[in-house]
Structures are given as structure tokens and as C-alpha cells.
């Protein structure tokens, strides 16, 4: 497995001309996902920022076969691709379903739960930018408490983020992992591993969004790193029930170094209305989960 950027395959599947905003974390992640999965991949995607990344007809910067589908049906579309490819003797294709947090945590949950329960042979990636970005930064159930969005404009969101990863773990997928666009090697390795596993593979991908979160475009990588270094996002994988911290998170567990969440929150305009009490509550939530995950990892 590649651990250094120099070891990654040279072939590019995302050519110049993506339509995402400047500084978007999504193309960084997508580039490495496709490098890991290779040309015999079919992507299915709903309406979201990824659709925009794929460009407008008749041109696309993405050199991978892809199928656009309706907002709530990504995993159903993937089930159809898997069934159609199998019955026509092309099981050597990897079916990749990739949707945003709105298209997963909210509207896509039914189709995804169904496909996972059927143990459909596909990889589902939820790239999580923590709001409905494509429609203009509306709150989703993935939006964290304290964030201002265009539908929580005056009083920041009060409810914490839905623990969707646990919901997916309860489906006992063949493979489950979390990763972040700021750690391409961690991300790449997880997709290489996922590619060779049969059954449902679910990957939660944290993606910083400068436009929706309110930070300078030059801070995208830094913001993703801060998310991990504060343990707001924790990198791990669950393989056949075995839990393992990976990459930077494993490192942090070993060294005991974890930054305060305020360092992550401060750099983003969406959190500017958070009260000190809310910041404290957020820190407590992060600490509690970090301890739980350390315990699961036996560290």
C-alpha cells in the first residue's frame, strides 16, 4: 500500500476543469479515491456538489464511467448497477456510490439501509461537508450543533450531528472506515483495501468546504487536519467487527496529543455565534467519544 504521495499511481481520472469552488476539499479526495479504484469503476451519484464537479454536458473532467441519479436513490442505483453488471458477466467492475451528507444522512438513508441489509457488493462513500451545500448551505442532520447555516441563520443549529457512522455500523457492513480529504494516504489505503473486499463497504469521508464553512480557500487542508487533530473527526476502520484507529488518529492515541476543539471552531465563520457554553459542550462531546474510541481500540 502507498504511504507516500510518490507511491500513488500516475494515472489521473480527474482532469482540469472541475466546477467545484476554489479550495474545495472534494476533488482532493475524489482524485485519490479514483486512483485507488482504477478504470474499471462505475460511479453513481445523486444531485450534490459532486454533480457539479462532474461538469456540464457535453464535457466532463472525470475520466470514469458515471451515472447520475435522483437525490434519494444512490444506493438503489448502485444495487441496479451491481445486479446489471453481474447478470451480464461483468463482475470485475467496482461499483462506487458517492453522495453528500444530505443525500446520505437524510434522504438517502432508506435506500442505503436497504442496500446494506441486502449485503450489496458495492462501496458507498458519504462525503460529509456538513450541510446541503449545493442548494446554498442549508442545515442537514450532519450539521454540527452551533453552526450557522442558511436555515439556521439567527439561532445556530441546536441539535448535535446525527451519529450516522454508528447507524451504518449497526448494519454490520463488510468494511467500514472513516477518513478525511486532508489525509490522502490514509484515504487511498482505505479505498485500496475496500476494493478487494466483497459486500457492502461504507466509508465516511470528512470534506472541508470553504464556501459553506466560511474559511479562506488556502486553509482547506489545514481545516481537515485540525478536525482530526482535535478529534472532531477520528480516522478508523472496522473490518469484520475489528476496530482499529488509523493514521493521524492512531498517532494521537499513542502520543496523547489532542488539540482543543476551539482551535478548529475559531477558524470558521459558521461557528462565530457559538457561546462559550456551547463550545464547552462540544468539547465534552468530542472528549467523550474520543475516550470511547480509545477504549474500543484497546489503547
Amino acid at each position: 500500500m502507498a504511504t507516500a504521495i510518490m507511491d500513488l499511481p500516475d494515472r489521473e481520472y480527474i482532469l482540469p476543469g472541475t466546477r467545484t469552488c476554489a479550495g474545495c476539499g472534494l476533488p482532493i479526495a475524489y482524485r485519490h479515491i479514483l486512483k485507488a479504484l482504477g478504470p474499471k469503476t462505475v460511479v453513481t451519484l445523486p444531485a450534490c456538489c459532486l454533480t457539479i464537479l462532474h461538469g456540464m454536458y457535453p464535457k466532463t473532467p472525470v475520466a470514469i464511467n458515471s451515472v447520475n441519479n435522483t437525490f434519494g436513490s444512490t444506493a438503489a442505483s448502485a444495487s441496479g448497477l451491481v445486479a446489471g453488471l453481474k447478470v451480464t458477466g461483468r463482475e470485475d467492475y467496482t461499483v462506487l456510490a458517492m453522495a453528500g451528507d444530505g443525500g446520505t444522512f437524510d434522504m438517502g438513508i432508506q435506500a442505503l439501509s436497504g442496500a446494506a441489509e441486502r449485503q450489496t457488493n458495492f462501496i458507498y462513500v458519504c462525503y460529509d461537508n456538513e450541510a446541503y451545500m449545493n442548494t446554498g448551505v442549508q442545515r442537514s442532520s450532519a450539521t454540527p450543533a452551533g453552526a450557522v447555516t442558511t436555515t439556521t441563520p439567527v439561532r445556530p443549529k441546536e441539535q448535535p450531528k446525527k451519529d450516522f457512522i454508528q447507524i451504518m455500523e449497526a448494519h454490520h457492513p463488510a468494511y467500514l472506515a472513516t477518513t478525511c480529504s486532508s489525509y490522502p494516504a490514509d484515504l487511498y489505503n482505505k479505498f485500496v483495501k475496500a476494493k478487494d473486499i466483497r459486500g457492502t463497504r461504507f466509508i465516511h469521508l470528512a470534506v472541508p468546504c470553504p464556501a459553506g464553512w466560511g474559511f479562506p480557500t488556502r486553509h482547506t487542508v489545514k481545516m481537515g487536519r485540525l478536525a482530526v487533530e482535535t478529534a472532531v473527526v477520528v480516522l478508523y476502520e472496522v473490518e469484520e467487527g475489528r476496530f482499529r484507529l488509523t493514521g493521524k488518529s492512531l498517532n494521537m492515541a499513542k502520543t496523547g496529543r489532542k488539540r482543543p476543539v476551539s482551535e478548529y471552531l475559531e477558524g470558521q465563520a459558521r461557528f462565530k455565534k457559538m457561546t462559550p457554553e456551547q463550545v464547552e459542550a462540544f468539547q465534552e462531546w468530542v472528549d467523550r467519544r474520543w475516550e470511547q474510541l480509545l477504549e474500543r481500540a484497546g489503547l
Binding site: Y57, A76, A83
Partner: protein, 402 residues
């Protein structure tokens, strides 16, 4: 050798799908079609049908599975009714826009609220504008034949097809059905040849965002904007009428039952009063016609087999010069009248002196029994109007309801 079996509409639909060698089946229960996927699951589990059987968690997903399976070249099938069809609505548009040749039987059933599991046609009529071909069956033989025909046509014009038949009245009623030999079906319906195959070296982005105006592609040639794609869908449906009739004629050469007329006609030659109806109602109306004729009233039936694309010219020819037409409908465009009445009247626009007096009857909703006597009553009401001024503006509800 063809053999005759006594089958329900649902068993017939499942058998037809098997004989069409469908490759992907998406299954979700809803009365009155549930038996179709049940029978198909038996075929698949017994190894009699080589298909991927996907037990989805909703009708929205059922259509999602079919769309994507079809896009990668598999012959896809699902069935539904009523609220299941309504739940699919977004996907119906997507399937037609994606030009995937899915065939889907719908066992016609009323829509809630309030709940009914029984028959009317509100479900499919409400999906009229989704870009699907809609065929309506009068009996179980037609269920079998139309499903086979539907795949042939769908795969030629790349438009999905709904094969509609009345819930319970056909879906649960045993009728003799002549089952053709499998080899004959294979000869009529060869394997699905998708318009393109996935090629990793020539990747495509299927159904992306399309802008309003045409744009040049990589080779500099202009590619359609949104309206260009939509116009092509309209043209495909317009051309589908001739294809349906041509394939219906070829069907007759193979199986001895020809479907080269978009209309079913019963004693129309000298008819002064013509009932216009769809599905099993058209067949039931023939009994009333015989009764009326015994009373000396020259009545006839025009049954509409193909509702989309709409057989405008055939209807114009069939109804020109008829004195009165009674459009019998099991669906309503609420606040107006039955959609079929509006459409038939529009088809006759400009016939001037030859235009029949049009009277619209709503009947049989939510399984309400329609007896020949009810249809005769409709005839008498229609005949009581001596001119357009006397026909009520709103449709006449035929029922003894409070």
C-alpha cells in the same frame, strides 16, 4: 406447441416476464400486484429464470434499480400499483428521460386517502406525463401479449412501457391464456442489445447537468441543451405509435394475435352511440352494447389500448360522424373532468358537423362494481341530451353513493 392455461393476470404477467428472459427484477409488495414478484422469485430460486432478483426496500428504489441495471445493459422489470406507483413518480420521469427500456406492469388501483386496495385507474392516469408508453389490457391474454410486445417496442424506441391492467378484475381473475412456446418468444424478442456498452477507456457521464442552450462537444459539433433532449423524448413517443402497430402486426405473424390497431372496436360500424373506455371496462361495455342493441339502440365500443402515445388519428376516424360518445372513466382530473374525456374531445377538435356530442361518466372508483345495467343507464342519460347545451359542464358520477 402453444398451450392454454387458466391463469390470473398476475400469474400471467410473471410468466410473461420469465418468457421475456428478464435479467434484473426489482420486487416490492403492494396489493394487487404482489403475486407478480412472488411468482418471479419462485422462478429465480428454482433456477427456471436466470435473473438477479433484488428485494428492494421501496418502489422509489425499485425503479432506481431498474434504471441503473438497464443503463448497464440488463433487461429490467418491476411491477407496482397505486401508492407504489405514486411513490415512484420522480423515478418515472428519470427513467423516461434516461431513455431506459424498462417494462412495468401496473395493476390499476385507486389512490388514498382514504385507503382502497380496489380497482380504478387514478394511479396510471396520474402518471400520464412522465414520458412512459402506456398500454391498457382488456383481459389476461393481452397482459401476456402486451408485456412481450412492450419489451420489443421499448428496446426499439428506448422508451419505458407501463402495461396497465385492472387490479382484481384482471390481476386476481382466472382466465384462459394461450402460452406461446419459449422458442417463439425468443425468435420474436431477441436479447437486449444496449445502445452502448461501458468502456473504461471511453468513459461517459450519463445524465449529467445539461444547460439550456446547445454547446459544442469535444469535436466542436453542437450538442443538445435541455430542450433538445426533451424534444427527442417527445419525438420518440410520437414515433412509437407506428412502431407499436408495426410490432403488433409482426406479433400477429408470430403468435396469431395481431395488435395493429390502437383501438379495440365492437359493433362500431353503424353505431350512433359509442362508449369510449379503457381496460376491462371496454370489454364489459360490450355486454351493455348487446343489451342496448336488443332495445333497438345502435351502440358500440371503442376501447383505447394505447393511451400514450395517444392514438389521435385513429380516434378521429373511429368517432367522426358518431352522434353521441359516452366516455366512461375510472379516474378524475379533480376540478375538471376525466382526463380521457378531455383528450378524446381534443382529438376530435375541428370535426365540426361530424363531431359527436361528448358526455363524460365517472364510475367504478375504488372497486365500485360496474354492471351492464349501469352502462345502459349511462347510455340512456347520454341519449337524453339533444344538444351540447344540455350536456352538463361537469362529468356525471354514476353511482348509488350517498
Amino acid at each position: 406447441m402453444a398451450r392454454t392455461k387458466i391463469l390470473t393476470g398476475n400469474e400471467t404477467a410473471a410468466l410473461a416476464a420469465k418468457m421475456c428472459r428478464v435479467q434484473v427484477v426489482a420486487a416490492y409488495p403492494i396489493t394487487p400486484q404482489s403475486k407478480i414478484p412472488e411468482v418471479l422469485s419462485e422462478y429465480v430460486e428454482r433456477g427456471e429464470l436466470d435473473a438477479e432478483f433484488v428485494r428492494v426496500e421501496s418502489e422509489h428504489s425499485a425503479m432506481g434499480v431498474c434504471i441503473s441495471a438497464s443503463l448497464v445493459g440488463a433487461r429490467a422489470f418491476t411491477a407496482t400499483a397505486a401508492n407504489g406507483l405514486a411513490y415512484m413518480h420522480e423515478q418515472l420521469h428519470w427513467a423516461a428521460g434516461a431513455r431506459v427500456p424498462i417494462v412495468m406492469p401496473v395493476t390499476n388501483r385507486g389512490l388514498g386517502a382514504p385507503w382502497t386496495i380496489l380497482n380504478d385507474m387514478q394511479d396510471t392516469i396520474s402518471q400520464r406525463d412522465t414520458g412512459w408508453i402506456q398500454l391498457y389490457c382488456m383481459n389476461n391474454q393481452e397482459v401476456l401479449d402486451q408485456i412481450i410486445l412492450a419489451y420489443k417496442v421499448a428496446e426499439r424506441v428506448l422508451v419505458p412501457v407501463m402495461v396497465c391492467f385492472d387490479g382484481f378484475r384482471l390481476s386476481h381473475t382466472m382466465m384462459p391464456v394461450e402460452i406461446p412456446d419459449q422458442e417463439k418468444v425468443d425468435a420474436y424478442l431477441p436479447p437486449f442489445e444496449p445502445p452502448y456498452l461501458l468502456d473504461p477507456e471511453n468513459p461517459v457521464n450519463i445524465n449529467p447537468v445539461v444547460l439550456t442552450d446547445p454547446l459544442p462537444g469535444a469535436d466542436g459539433r453542437p450538442c443538445p441543451g435541455y430542450m433538445g433532449f426533451r424534444r427527442r423524448l417527445q419525438e420518440a413517443l410520437e414515433s412509437a405509435l407506428d412502431v407499436l402497430l408495426e410490432e403488433g402486426r409482426i406479433f400477429g405473424e408470430h403468435f396469431g394475435r395481431s395488435y395493429d390497431d390502437p383501438l379495440y372496436r365492437y359493433r362500431t360500424e353503424d353505431a350512433r352511440l359509442v362508449f369510449v373506455a379503457m381496460g376491462s371496462l371496454a370489454s364489459e361495455a360490450t355486454e351493455a352494447v348487446d343489451m342496448l342493441r336488443e332495445e333497438g339502440i345502435p351502440a358500440g365500443v371503442v376501447g383505447i389500448r394505447i393511451f400514450r402515445p395517444f392514438p389521435r388519428r385513429a380516434l378521429r376516424e373511429a368517432l367522426a360522424g358518431v352522434q353521441i360518445m359516452a366516455v366512461l372513466e375510472k379516474a378524475v382530473s379533480y376540478g375538471h373532468e376525466g382526463a380521457l374525456a378531455s383528450e378524446v374531445k381534443a382529438a376530435l377538435y375541428g370535426l365540426n358537423g361530424a363531431q359527436p356530442l361528448a358526455v363524460n361518466f365517472i364510475l367504478g372508483l375504488g372497486g365500485k362494481d360496474v354492471k351492464p345495467a349501469d352502462v345502459c343507464e349511462a347510455a340512456r342519460r347520454a341519449l337524453s341530451f339533444s344538444g351540447p347545451g344540455e350536456v352538463p359542464e361537469s362529468p356525471i358520477w354514476l353511482s348509488n353513493e350517498i
